[in-house]
Point group: C2
Chain length 130, copies 2
């Protein structure tokens, strides 16, 4: 029983709950999840929508997401081949917290840019008048 309210588990490097933060932190994974929010998308479409990702890296990303059960991969026996990627139930459940984070990011972009400007100005002033 934990006696304090700190997120001790996530601070534990061995706790598996860190995997999701690694997943979110992945350069492409969270983008893919959000693109798939609209429904199943095939490989080549995904490439276009996620804007200039190389096939190698996209494949890696998709395989990892599939392995973690966040997306499903459906191969159609056609030529040329057709492969659809779709959010699983688990992946869809991630959409809600992810969207909130995206909302936060979009809402606070001005504040962050402002803070950066202020910080950089202070730095410059400090260099000129130490």
């Amino acid at each position: 029983m934990e006696t304090n309210a700190l997120p001790a588990n996530i601070l534990d490097p061995d706790c598996p709950s860190r995997v999701i933060f690694q997943r979110i932190g992945d350069k492409w994974a969270s983008l893919v999840v959000q693109v798939l929010a609209a429904g199943p998308v095939r490989f080549s479409e995904l490439r276009k929508m996620v804007h200039v990702v190389t096939p190698k890296v996209l494949t890696q990303t998709l395989r990892t997401l599939e392995r973690d059960g966040l997306i499903t991969r459906t191969v159609y026996a056609q030529v040329p081949p057709r492969v659809d990627y779709e959010l699983s139930e688990l992946g869809a459940s991630l959409l809600e917290p992810l969207t909130l984070l995206r909302q936060w990011a979009e809402d606070h972009v001005p504040s962050i840019l402002e803070a950066r400007d202020a910080y950089d100005d202070a730095q410059d002033a400090g260099i000129l008048n130490p």
Copy 2:
């Protein structure tokens, strides 16, 4: 005016809303933010709580968070020095979506581990009976 509901902005590599995802994705930043949820913490304490991070990397992380206005840095004129790091109002507002994401991660760890096992088993079977 966007005609669809897709998160087109975040898919745009030039949109600044990506900065927050990079910030979250940072190996230590989101951990620091969650540690600071409990109140101001000084450098050496932070090092212990975030479990084996080198001072160089912790400094980098803190500087970036400070520059983005998520935390404040307070130096006390003492010897030996004392520096407190604390969430700003902006940083505190990130806590809510971040906590939801952490909740999700903690709640779904079993599902993800299960999915991994199933995936790996399927892979092994595929290798044995191709």
